[in-house]
Symmetry: C2
């Protein structure tokens, strides 16, 4: 296998742009990165390279057409990243990537610049070796994934003829472990909600008023403390109404191929079991919904103490949804819950973002078969089929607007620390990923386009019946 | 009454120093303010003016000795202030004071630069008119009151001969209303505690782990939600054990002279009654203890959303204590409570500050009588005797180290917005305060020093028996 050091040096350049999409001070860095990426795609030999501006951060597009008779693959990835905080927990500058042993460290190495780069390098290698690609390829790289892709649905809807493809490939998920590839067939949906509780009182001195004022911070704690029951189930009425139960066969399959409870705890760095009774840890994070408190903010945030009862307090929640929960319905349930739970005399303000439906993909399509064979060729092992706890909203958009199935070919590892300090990516897997992508393009070229006309929504149950 | 505009212009200069003692970036401003104050005391005609450096912010001292036969009054005040946040809620620059109508606006106008300045101007007027003071006077102005006077106890203990006095005067409390003076005879104690809850897990992606991880933010909410019972009583075992009950006579007196429930709610800007059942609002904030949540901080604090389950969360509490609660004992109860309530798998870190005992002062001393008569001369009304919900730690130090009673002659008004945005001070009351201080010095000069030898700890009950 070629272990081209130039690829690493190019990846480092790509990683050096602090493309934190949630940080409004990074707008120019994101523009510069999009420009770098477009130039890189051009040099690689892709055609019709274009930067599409949106209301916020741009999309980078490129394509390579061989023949209308051949299938078209759309490679999707995102070049924006999560904030690199808390900075003091990073052992390196998050945007000055370094290689240590087999790993490259830096924000975005695994999520998702490194994974996206795999396909660019695969295209480059094939073009260099054979002068053309075996299939038609389109690339779509966005800069707003980490903030919920606010402008992507509209872009895809308005450009569906342009983006038309037979299957989309998204590499933004994990393998089961080093050496054991995995194809993800289910994703949780997501819903972010910020809730601000404001009392009618102004800020009050805690000496002069402490004991007679119901503080918004206290109200917040009281309401949040009731979000989960003593059995760690979400207490919001109706919250589980649309949650699909696993079939026994799929449950068995998950128990066989999925990570054990112990391994999941080890990955999380804790020895404290928690969560809904009656489910394995892997099930808790894939087939069961969750509400995580990601932020609480209220009162004096500076150093030392300020003896003031604040006038308002806020909380940010990240809800993860499973098939067939609907983010709009859950949003309403949450708003009703807080409205009902917060006592008289307080005002509530809701701010929701990043709404995405959960995803359940067919694993019977010929494209999944092509991906599966490619993994086997390169890694020497067939992939396992996994559900993931994460969310990739674009998968729904490809399904809804392009009527195309998505193949989630992830090259991440559980040790990548995505969204956390010291994010990293395993370089031998990066290079194997390039070979897998090359092999995938070759395998796809053998698919007769008609094969794709079968329903992409085959019931999973059948698969697990036979797999088991 | 003289309404000298020079005094206001000098007060404005004094207020312009951003002497926020909790802000480490303001160290130089505090030094410059101490220098300004020392120079001002010198110009006023006080002697032995000196700046005492401490480990943090300096004390300013001055004195004026007439005769060892006459009583000595120690005027105490503080020239440091609370942070001026949130800045966007201020209608003016907090350190660029402005006069509007009868009020001067700016941080520190009432708490405590304006009140402290009253006595300096009183001394100036008497010296100008008569060439000498009627009593011996010492001034002690500190720069660390708003952070719990960390260096003051040691300073007073080491300088008790130097600071020796017959009574201390502290003007850092409120009148009952405009035109109705008040002498405060009881203060709540205080205890600030920061509690940090850290899980063993690192920061975790809420997609990958949401549903199987017990988050420190959730634990924090659950524990804090149980701090108060449903009847709004603090649920910590033993918390009320040392709380003294009011006598029926004092309860009646407080109901007669103290602010009504409605007025207290109006002052707080809310119509929502809250707090311990069976007590008036005035009682809740003076004779009953309280725990106020002043800060909660956990998770991503930037704009937008970051889908991460944080590894730790923290809370800051301000506890107000009443006679005879002991801050050290309450500190221990709180630490035990949190240690017991926080589930296995989490580490707790405690950081306490600003410990001060509650205060109950005798109202039978001749100095109280002198103060009372001065108020009557200037305001045309005898003062009422009030308990206050606030804390002035120095009162305990004067009692413990100097064996001197303190007279709390406050000139603040309930509308002053101390510790909050748009702090202000009523200028006609400021000028009446100067006359009251002048009258007080004159009245004190008639006290035979021997009278002070009576116990300053006379039981309040007797007073209320006769007052009623």
């Amino acid at each position: 296998m070629s272990f081209n050091p130039r690829y690493i040096s190019e990846l480092k350049d790509f990683l050096s742009f602090p493309t934190v999409s949630s940080d409004s001070t990074k707008k120019k860095d994101i523009q510069r990165c999009a420009q770098w990426l477009a130039t890189h795609l051009q040099k690689t030999g892709l055609k019709k390279v274009k930067i599409f501006q949106t209301r916020l951060h741009p999309l980078v597009y490129a394509e390579y057409t061989v023949s209308p008779e051949l299938p078209t693959i759309l490679f999707y990835g995102h070049y924006d990243v999560q904030p690199a905080i808390p900075l003091q927990k990073w052992k390196l500058e998050p945007f000055s990537p370094v290689v240590k042993g087999d790993y490259i460290y830096g924000r975005g190495t695994a999520d998702d610049k490194g994974q996206l780069f795999i396909h660019i390098k695969a295209i480059e290698e094939v073009l260099k070796k054979t002068g053309k690609l075996p299939v038609n390829v389109k690339c779509l790289f966005e800069g707003e994934e980490e903030i919920g892709s606010p402008n992507l649905p509209d872009f895809i809807r308005r450009n569906k003829e342009y983006l038309k493809c037979d299957a989309a490939v998204v590499s933004d998920t994990k393998m089961l472990s080093m050496g054991q590839p995995a194809i993800t067939y289910s994703l949780r949906g997501t819903l972010n909600m910020e809730i601000t509780i404001t009392g009618k009182n102004k800020e009050l001195h805690s000496g002069s008023y402490g004991g007679m004022v119901y503080s918004p911070l206290q109200v917040l704690c009281e309401v949040v403390s009731k979000l989960y029951t003593e059995k760690s189930r979400i207490s919001i009425p109706g919250f589980y109404a649309d949650v699909e139960n696993l079939t026994i066969n799929e449950k068995k399959y998950m128990a066989k191929v999925g990570p054990s409870d112990e391994r999941m705890l080890k990955e999380a760095g804790t020895d404290r079991n928690w969560g809904e009774e009656g489910y394995s840890n892997f099930e808790k994070i894939t087939v069961r919904p969750a509400i995580s408190i990601t932020t609480i903010k209220g009162g004096y945030q500076g150093e030392g103490f300020k003896n003031v009862i604040p006038a308002s307090a806020s909380i940010k929640l990240n809800v993860r949804l499973v098939p067939n929960q609907n983010p709009l319905k859950i949003e309403k349930l949450l708003m009703n819950y807080f409205t009902e739970m917060v006592p008289r005399g307080f005002e509530l303000k809701f701010n929701t973002a990043s709404k995405a439906k959960p995803v359940l993909l067919s694993i019977k399509s010929p494209y999944i078969k092509a991906a599966s064979e490619s993994y086997k060729e390169v890694f020497g092992k067939s992939p396992v089929f996994l559900r993931s706890g994460g969310t990739i909203p674009v998968v729904n958009m490809f399904k809804d607007f392009l009527k195309a199935p998505t193949i989630l070919m992830g090259f991440g590892l559980p040790s990548d620390n995505i969204h956390a300090p010291n994010e990293n990516f395993h370089l031998p897997t990066f290079f194997k990923g390039i070979q897998t992508s090359i092999s995938f393009m070759k395998n796809v070229s053998a698919i007769k386009k008609a094969e794709n006309s079968s329903s992409p929504e085959t019931l999973l149950q059948e698969i697990f019946n036979t797999t088991n």
